[in-house]
Symmetry: C2
Subunit: 328 residues, 2 copies
Amino acid sequence: MEKSEFDLIKSYFAPLASGYEEAFDLLNDAALISEKPQASTVVTMDTLIAGVHFLMSDPAGDIARKCLRVNLSDLAAMGAAAFGYSLSMAYNSQIDVGWVKEFTTALGEDQQRFSCHLIGGDTVVTPGPLTITITCFGSVARHQCLKRNTAEVGEDVWVSGDLGDSAAGLKLLNKELDVSDAEARAQLIHRYRVPEPRCDLGIELLQNAISRTAMDVSDGLLADLGHIARASNIAVELYEDKIPRSAAFSALMSSSPDLGLALAVTGGDDYEIVFTSDPAQEQAIQELSRKLSLKLSKIGKVVSGHGVRLICRNGKTFLPTKAGWTHF
Amino acid sequence: MEKSEFDLIKSYFAPLASGYEEAFDLLNDAALISEKPQASTVVTMDTLIAGVHFLMSDPAGDIARKCLRVNLSDLAAMGAAAFGYSLSMAYNSQIDVGWVKEFTTALGEDQQRFSCHLIGGDTVVTPGPLTITITCFGSVARHQCLKRNTAEVGEDVWVSGDLGDSAAGLKLLNKELDVSDAEARAQLIHRYRVPEPRCDLGIELLQNAISRTAMDVSDGLLADLGHIARASNIAVELYEDKIPRSAAFSALMSSSPDLGLALAVTGGDDYEIVFTSDPAQEQAIQELSRKLSLKLSKIGKVVSGHGVRLICRNGKTFLPTKAGWTHF
């Protein structure tokens, strides 16, 4: 890199902190968070690595957006309103000033969109792949948040948006799948590169007491519901024909429906919100869906027992063979 | 690794969070911080990489301690009392369960010693070197902290402990230096591997209004005082014969005094606290030194102008040639 760490921070990162007074223009060893007395701060942390969580060939701006947004998605799953983040970038010789400029410009745009500021961080040189860690901070009413261990038998299971797009997008990038429709291809790849965190949904679910139990879908729907099932000591029953899939995804998968179903429920990287709710809340959820212009699908039930079962159209049960559902 | 991420967290990391209720046993997407109304939370973040900030051949426990303590040192430089940290570990095939056990055992010991808890984090697999990022949280009186931009002409410059030990320890490990005295060798290498964050010093300086301006010495005394000089728009004058050096260091460097001086003031990784203070505080500082059983040395003055000058015994000025003082 042709600039020193000091110049890099001053030119590209400090401006991202200028709206947050207690970041001290990134000149101190640390920043301050001074919450209102009736609030708690929610803290989440995610590391993303080139070649693992994104591709080095992805545009720098998309990498920036993904790194910030997967953290915002965690805050959404807790029902928190984001206000700040610390960023550590371990960069290597593949990164030049132009890349940093594109990366920080995209962060600046996302900061505006999601109402948060850079408040601190670290830059270091690594002999390894580009590695970005963000610790993200949000605000909730004191001691209040959505959890994983509060699901109850009889509740409905809901999920936002569509599932599988991101996993299909990665397979298109890796040439494991192909599609002639250029628009569908671009749409699926975009869903892999740039998640859409459901911030408003999480906040509304918590503040209006529509749900107490939520997660964001990062490891895949079945794996993440498995975490809720374990933590809450309940089981989840899902129905294949209720799993929401986009038109682009369904068209791509029309000739391989089994792979399509697997990608939708185990592919991961969806960053949708899965939540449980009392059936009496159904109308409130439909209204919330209209208010947020966001598809919300009732996909199953909380039942007694252990684990997650997906009931297929043919009446059989989809049962991955490996713990963690990491392989289909 | 023979264990899944889920088992790893449950077996080794979750116990480190058990004393912090709003970490939810690491089962949720995020943790909560619920500060007292009259407090602010101080946030700092540091990434350490094998081969850059520590050696993969260092004991796993020492790596754990270094990763946590460099963050605690940043909190000390702000005058904050640590209470929690989030940890992200990007590990590779060099890491096995035994290594993780040793690493987390050392974290547990340091947690007790420094009164803080793990509150969250992330574990990921990397094709690169072991990369550990910690975001550390401390508490201060609302909106109060030590800063870099508050040094004033006429103040004295003080530093804790001894300088250069860590840089000499690294040179011993890298076989760039050698010493026959086994005890001195072990002592210097230990100072490289396991910093001693001056937590109590930072808190006392802030709470007793002895100082308003401090930093921890990580890049090297001259570089770090350069940050204070720039931020405060003042200059600093230091005196060679006041720079505190340990007996082991002085003995090792007795035949190369120029290299010794360079290591002490530019070597870095010292994690001592450098601070400025009104001359009227000298007695309070001497008392604090006795109370904490910690050497505190008056090494120079804040003067008008720009930059940092080190006045040598021969009356000449030590003037590194490169901005950032990264090379001697």
